[in-house]
């Protein structure tokens, strides 16, 4: 359907006219159509003699020739530009400059299973194109969106290249599952499963898998559409509750052959280091707390942060070419990115290729669309577990380390005093950890245009990825269970997602009424399997060799048991029927109804099928006589619907038993035939508006979401085979909020242009009537075993902090706590307000873009400080910040998890600044040449004492994820990029 619309809207009419343009030619007119944007020829523009079917299109250079009646008027139209009428008079040649169309409501936006003109959209949809995207070093599509769309909160979990990104649309509604939206790339809904392997904990904590969307080259993305409300997402049924992000990749354009090339280089450095006690002052500071100078002075001077940090250089190249005719279009691209992290040895390399093509056959009776992307990613990982113990992961070990300790002994070996005094440089040297992931995402659609108002489309797609992580840990690393043992891991994760989808699309005018409908069926099959081999007991050799590439060399004699292995496989199927009807009355009213029925192998046998309806309507007030002229656009929208969230493990409703390696048979999951999706009912009311001929436009939305049937691992009454089982529990999580986006073209048309884009959102989150109290957010570090920081409970927001209230120190410097050390609620980790502000400037060939983002009304738990920056550590020869060294705390005090480490996270960030210059190259054959400099993460205004208040280390408890915990995370970087883009 989407293709049909596309053709109809853009070209079909033109083409029909083109065929029949010979009849009445009397007067030949030639000319050129230019774009007001860059004064270059505009190919593909429809040129029609008004009131007739006589017309043509411009050629590659924007030139056209047409024979017209005397005194004819020519109508020039092209998508994305304002239609212009020119009276020919007696002229035989004329040049026309088309202005870009800024009437927002006439944009075409991508929606679920189709496209719509923005004025017809009844739901809450944000559509972003490359001009709106964040620039610089970007390794996944969510980063393009960060701060750019109201109600869409994007937070990196850490600064590590390729780290998972937390994206929440309109708040958090699921206590256990993730709150990520469904991602749909070129019509292919992705599975929520990890496509790369995390790590086993070998002493550094459990590592996260990588962000599954890293495989997409951002340069290939043409549009990102974020579906926020139920009327927009209900067509995705049981996967729509967290919103849906539709990503469309670029297609070739007919009669516009293009070749583009871009190259950029970036330099990243740490945004902020911890201000630790320096070597010169350390001994005195430790002695002042009861340390013995002979024990704490190790004679050297090392800045351990500097030892593991570097300036990370990133190179990024992409090349794309495409073109074709009306009947056969293609685009091919290749991209390569080599991103160095700011921590030594870390980084991400991506090689990606994409081929998209479209062909029409048999007089446009049939159309075939291919999208095919392939990528290879190599992640260079550092030992950065999320829940490292008291010895610390790489970052923790560097922060803790005694600054008077040298990195190496005089003989060149690393100083590794004990398991409890880890050498982070040795870690980087002795731990070799790389992941290679290959992903193929392809879809082939065949459309049969049965009549001019009905088509049938069948779509088959495959998303296939294989990822292998190989880890070697040298036996010289002085860690418990590693030293004189060594360790190697091979972890594989393979995922496959197959889709078959059939849709009928209908688009028919019935008098003043226009009917658009989709009726579809889809079958999706998800498989993921993985395996792990762990080996230990590698022999000692003076020559270095790589354990993981020589895993058979581990000592497997006697009782040594060098190898352990495991494997898993899970298959899920999702069968769906769906439909949508959109009725347009006189271009003034639209009514939309959607319905999806999802059946999944995941659901319990008593709830195999779920039904997800939605209804919405809009009223284009600007089409009404009574609307004042002040409004160039005005549209009211309202919608309601039910959507689901089914992000829980497959087979969660079944009894699962597994043999363990002592040949006993263990129950690992318990039966629950009633298990079903979480259900979200959402009401959305919105208004889209434009003033001053479209110079100021925007949208305002109010939403009210209530999520029920919450899934958690609920305590199972004992005695039982398992401690907990998956259950839907009573209670509602409410997310209520408002969103506003504004675009104001302050200055336009002259040499100097200025545009402002502003968005803000408010979300109020509250848990009501919950049957359980769910604790999460494990606090890690020495003396903190068993501590947690968050609780989900009725009457509170999700991710509320539940802690002792720290009230200060006694005169001896010992911590005191309110209410007899009772735990209580103290704020939450969900920002109330989020803001984004972009200023775009243009002056002749220069342009500039300055983007600020801000979040307020949330708390961050500084677990790093809780674990490491305590006075008592100083006495023990461990480093702390200068602030802690001079604080009134006693070295005997213990760092109870408390509000002492809970901080306001509010911040304003100068996130993205770009300065560009577009060269005017005349007739050199180079259509465009642009040089741009981008700075990312330039300034951060916050009172948070850690490095980055946006970071969130996932430290779940009983599978319930946490938010707003900052623990020894990979630091965030400040990045400068210089880039060149050329178009031919």
């Amino acid at each position: 359907m989407s293709k049909l619309y596309l053709i109809k809207n853009k070209y079909l009419v033109v083409l029909l006219l083109f065929v029949s343009n010979l009849a009445y030619s009397q007067n030949a007119v030639t000319g050129k159509v230019l774009s007001s944007e860059d004064n270059t020829g505009l190919p593909g523009v429809s040129v029609v003699e008004k009131g007739t079917t006589n017309g043509t299109v411009t050629n590659v250079d924007g030139d056209f020739t047409i024979s017209v009646n005397p005194n004819a008027t020519l109508v020039f139209s092209f998508v994305g530009f304002k239609t212009q009428e020119v009276s020919v008079g007696t002229r035989t040649s004329l040049n026309v400059t088309l202005a870009t169309d800024i009437e927002a409501l006439s944009e075409v936006v991508v929606i679920g299973y189709g496209r719509q003109e923005k004025k017809d959209v009844t739901g809450s949809v944000v559509s972003l194109s490359p001009k709106d995207f964040n620039k610089g070093v970007i390794n996944s599509p969510e980063q393009l969106l960060q701060g750019r769309a109201p109600g869409v909160q994007v937070n990196p979990s850490s600064g590590e290249p390729g780290a998972p990104i937390i994206i929440r649309i309109r708040g958090a509604a699921s206590p256990r599952g993730n709150n990520s939206p469904l991602f749909v790339i070129d019509g292919i809904p992705l599975s929520g499963n990890d496509v790369s392997a995390g790590t086993a904990d070998y002493g550094q904590g459990v590592g996260s898998a990588r962000n599954p969307l890293n495989f997409l080259n951002p340069d290939d993305i043409e549009n990102i559409s974020v579906l926020k409300d139920a009327s927009a997402t209900a067509i995705y049924g049981s996967r729509g509750a967290n919103g849906v992000v539709l990503i469309s990749t670029k297609q070739g354009k007919a009669n516009q052959p293009m070749l583009s090339f871009s190259a950029s280089a970036s330099a990243s450095t740490i945004q902020k280091k911890y201000d630790l006690v320096e070597a010169d002052d350390f001994v005195a500071a430790a002695v002042a707390q009861g340390g013995d100078a002979t024990a704490v002075d190790e004679g050297g001077s090392t800045d351990w942060q500097d030892e593991i940090l570097r300036t990370g250089i990133t190179q990024n190249y992409s090349i794309a070419y495409g073109g074709g005719t009306e009947d056969s279009r293609y685009r091919f691209s290749l991209g390569y990115m080599d991103q160095e992290g700011i921590v030594e040895t870390t980084g991400l390399e991506r090689l990606s290729g994409r081929l998209n093509s479209t062909h029409n056959f048999l007089n446009k009776k049939f159309q075939v669309d291919l999208t095919l992307g392939a990528s290879q990613i190599i992640d260079h990982n550092a030992p950065l577990g999320n829940n490292a113990g008291y010895e610390g992961n790489l970052i923790g070990a560097a922060l803790l380390a005694n600054p008077t300790r040298p990195v190496r002994n005089p003989d060149g070996s690393y100083v590794q005093k004990s398991n409890d005094a880890r050498n982070s440089v040795a870690m980087l040297d002795y731990i070799d950890d790389n992941t290679k992931s290959i992903r193929l995402l392809g879809g082939l659609a065949a459309t049969w245009n049965i009549t001019n108002w009905l088509n049938f489309k069948t779509f088959v797609a495959l998303d296939n990825s294989t990822s292998t992580r190989r880890v070697s840990i040298d036996r010289r690393l002085n860690w418990n269970n590693i030293v004189n043992i060594g360790r190697a891991y091979i972890l594989n994760v393979n995922t496959q997602n197959k889709l078959i989808e059939n849709t009928f699309n209908l688009n028919k005018e019935l008098g003043k009424t226009r009917l658009e409908a989709v009726l579809g069926y889809s079958y999706q099959d998800f498989e993921n399997n993985g395996n792990i081999i762990e080996a230990r007991n590698f022999p000692n050799d003076t020559l270095p060799y790589n354990y993981v590439d020589n895993i058979g060399g581990a000592n497997n004699t006697g009782e040594a048991r060098a190898y352990t292995a495991g494997s898993s496989r899970n298959v899920e199927k999702l069968v769906s029927f769906f439909g949508r009807v959109n009725l347009n009355f006189a271009e003034k009213f639209n009514v939309t109804a959607t319905l999806r029925q999802d059946g999944s192998t995941k659901f319990g046998e008593n709830n195999k099928w779920g039904l997800f309806p939605s209804f919405a309507a809009n009223w284009v007030l600007s089409e009404e006589e009574f609307t004042p002229e002040l409004f160039s656009d005005l549209k009211l929208r309202a919608g309601w619907g039910i959507t689901g969230n089914q992000e829980f493990p497959g087979s969660a409703s079944k009894t699962l038993q597994r043999y363990t390696n002592d040949l006993s048979l263990t129950v690992i999951n318990s039966y629950n035939p009633n298990l079903q999706w979480e259900e979200t009912k959402q009401l959305n009311v919105g208004v889209d508006f434009g003033f001053f001929g479209g110079r100021l436009f925007g949208s305002f939305d109010f939403f009210d979401k209530g999520t029920t049937n919450l899934i958690i691992l609920k305590d199972y009454p004992q005695p039982a085979s398992v401690g907990q089982r998956y259950e839907n529990i009573g209670g509602t999580i409410k997310n209520t909020g408002i969103e506003l986006s504004l675009d104001y073209r302050v200055l336009e048309g002259g040499d100097f242009t200025w545009g402002i884009n502003y968005n803000m959102a408010y979300v109020h989150n509250i848990v009501k009537g919950l049957d359980a109290q769910i604790s999460t957010a494990q606090v890690n570090g020495q003396g903190l075993t068993g501590a947690y920081a968050q609780r989900i409970q009725s009457g509170q927001s999700m991710y509320s902090f539940y802690l002792r209230e720290f009230t200060g120190y006694t005169s001896e410097g010992l911590g005191t706590y309110a209410d007899n050390e009772a735990l209580g609620f103290h704020g939450d980790a969900l920002p109330d307000w989020t803001f984004g502000l972009t200023n775009n400037f243009g002056y002749k060939n220069f342009d500039a873009s300055i983007f600020f983002t801000a979040q307020t009304g949330f708390m961050v738990y500084n677990n790093t400080a809780n674990a490491i920056f305590l006075k008592g550590n100083l006495r023990n020869g461990k480093n702390v910040t200068k602030d802690v060294a001079s604080s009134p705390e006693s070295p005997a005090n213990f760092g109870e998890a408390s509000t002492r480490f809970l901080e306001k996270g509010d911040f304003i960030r100068l996130a993205n600044v770009t300065l560009g210059y577009n060269f005017n190259l005349g007739n050199t054959g180079i259509k465009s040449l642009r040089l741009a400099v981008t700075g990312q993460n330039l300034l951060l205004f916050t009172k948070y004492t850690g490095i980055n208040p946006e970071v969130s280390t996932n430290v779940p408890l009983n599978g319930v994820p946490s938010l707003g915990m900052d623990y020894l995370a990979y630091p965030s970087a400040r990045t400068f990029t210089i880039g060149l883009t050329a178009g031919f």
Partner: protein
């Protein structure tokens, strides 16, 4: 019209397409999947029984049973040491008897034991009339239930494993005690005799041992007031003696050189292990490494936590202690390899070459008897080594010190002898003294000339310290609620732990124990 015909054809065609893929049968491949409750599934009876045994593996975890069995007694304390070992206050609460129903150890042990009874129950059902499965399964059900009775005084149970939504009913302490006795009598009848090559499985003697333990504690378990007084009935004490006599008569066990019971090769060297978990070096199933590292200082490779209390440690100053090897011994093959001695570590610590160790601040590593529950330094507290840390095996070139092969002991012969002595003492039989002295002599201590309740409890302390019995002993001897070095007197309700709040929330049939 023609168009519509083709339209219907397509519709028909695609409907076939539609219907071909609407099957939602389950396809999980990495487990045995059943669309029903647990015991409808597959599995050989041996594998199901193995699962019931595997639940014994958690008994040595400090945040689980070990914490509850020892952490509230006068024998083990985990003081907070500056930035170390605060651990959300769990250890301080244990020591001071200020735990509440949300305490994590109390929840963990509840889950551990109830999962144990469930698995045993399932094995019983799978066994049918197969005595080779049924007898050990009933032994294990009794074993797990014994601990539920001891710690919580209530035992939830299911009547129908096929009903996932059944709300379990609850046995009282008395009812459950009777059921344990029933199970163990069946087990004694039907279990094979002890196999000296495999102390990892239930035997007739293990069942007799456990039944003796039940009868010895029956006065506690059946007392009207859980905190006492306890009426040690003659017939119960006689049962203890006769059951102990039966185990002794089997001839399978004898007192072993004390430290051979706890070394890396104790599985082969000890003749005292009646039931244990068999650990292979490199891949132990019930790893004792935490028992070792929880107490040793960082400079000894440990985590510097667990200590003993002054009142308990000072018992070793009695003149009768003599040359008791249990107090503190250099163990050949261990101490000369890693510097760690067995028993109670006080004063200056040394490495294997006799060099003085220092703490992290540079002070000499001198373990002191004094400690402070909230604000101890690194050196406070006498440390206790029960399981001996294995030295690196020079033959293998691979460090197995974190995955040692010491078997974890659940039931030990010397305990049985002391139970026998205690029962005889409570019966007024003077042979109790010679039973105690048999042990003392073997351990190098001076023989006692007379016995008292205190002397018996002390002897249990000397012999069984840090093996998971101290709380139970202190309650039975009526001293658990008293005051000691780091603990004020506690209320009578402390003799039972509360039912975990999370359990109460799932089962309305559970009534919270008094006092919580």
């Amino acid at each position: 019209m023609k168009k519509f015909k083709s339209f219907y054809k397509i519709l028909l065609l695609s409907s076939v397409y539609f219907l071909s893929c609407t099957d939602l049968t389950d396809v999980a491949e990495d487990a045995i999947v059943t669309n029903g409750p647990v015991d409808a599934g597959a599995g050989s009876p041996e594998a199901v029984l193995g699962d019931a045994y595997a639940q014994l593996n958690g008994f040595n975890a400090e945040n689980n049973l070990f914490g509850l069995l020892e952490g509230s007694s006068d024998e083990l304390v985990v003081p907070t040491r500056g930035t170390d070992w605060s651990d959300f206050g769990v250890w301080r609460q244990m020591q001071q008897h200020t735990w509440d129903p949300t305490h994590s150890f109390i929840f963990n042990a509840w889950q551990q034991l109830n999962t144990g009874t469930f698995r045993a129950e399932r094995a019983i059902q799978v066994a049918g009339s197969n005595v080779a499965i049924l007898a050990p399964a009933r032994f294990l059900r009794a074993f797990y239930t014994y601990y539920l009775v001891d710690l919580y005084g209530q035992v939830p149970y299911r009547t129908d494993l096929n009903d996932p939504d059944e709300v379990p009913s609850v046995y009282t302490r008395v009812e459950a005690t009777d059921l344990i006795i029933e199970d163990l009598n069946y087990a004694i009848e039907n279990l094979p005799s002890f196999d000296p090559n495999n102390h990892g499985v239930a035997s007739k003697e293990a069942a007799q041992f456990l039944l003796a333990k039940v009868y010895l504690n029956k006065p506690v378990f059946t007392a009207e007031n859980p905190a006492g007084p306890y009426n040690f009935a003659v017939e119960d004490m006689q049962k203890v003696v006769s059951l102990a006599d039966a185990v002794i008569a089997s001839g399978s066990f004898s007192l072993t050189d004390y430290w051979d019971n706890f070394g890396p090769n104790n599985g082969a060297e000890s003749k005292e292990i009646v039931l244990g978990r068999i650990n292979n070096p490199g891949a132990p199933i019930s790893n004792v490494t935490n028992r070792i590292y929880n107490t040793l200082h960082y400079s000894q490779g440990g985590w510097n936590g667990f200590s003993t209390l002054a009142d308990f440690y000072n018992k070793w100053n009695e003149p009768s202690v003599g040359g008791d090897v249990r107090k503190n011994s250099a163990v050949p093959g261990i101490t000369d390899q890693n510097g760690i001695r067995g028993g109670f570590l006080e004063g200056q610590q040394y490495d294997k070459d006799g060099n003085e160790l220092k703490d992290r601040s540079g002070n000499p590593l001198v373990f002191t008897v004094e400690l402070d529950l909230l604000y101890s330094n690194e050196r406070n507290g006498v440390r206790v080594i029960k399981y001996l840390p294995p030295p690196n095996d020079p033959d293998t070139d691979f460090d197995e010190s974190q995955a040692p092969g010491n078997d974890f002991i659940l039931l030990r012969y010397a305990d049985l002898l002391l139970m026998r002595a205690e029962a005889l003492f409570r019966l007024g039989d003077e042979s109790a003294l010679s039973q105690v002295n048999e042990i003392r002599t073997q351990r190098g201590a001076n023989a006692l000339t007379s016995l008292s309740e205190q002397a018996l409890l002390d002897e249990r302390g000397y012999e069984m310290y840090w093996e998971g019995w101290r709380r139970n002993d202190q309650i039975r001897f009526g001293v658990f609620l008293g005051e000691w070095t780091e603990k004020p007197a506690s209320p009578p309700t402390s003799v039972l732990y509360p039912i975990p709040q999370r359990a109460i929330d799932t089962n309305p049939n559970l009534i919270q124990n008094e006092g919580y």
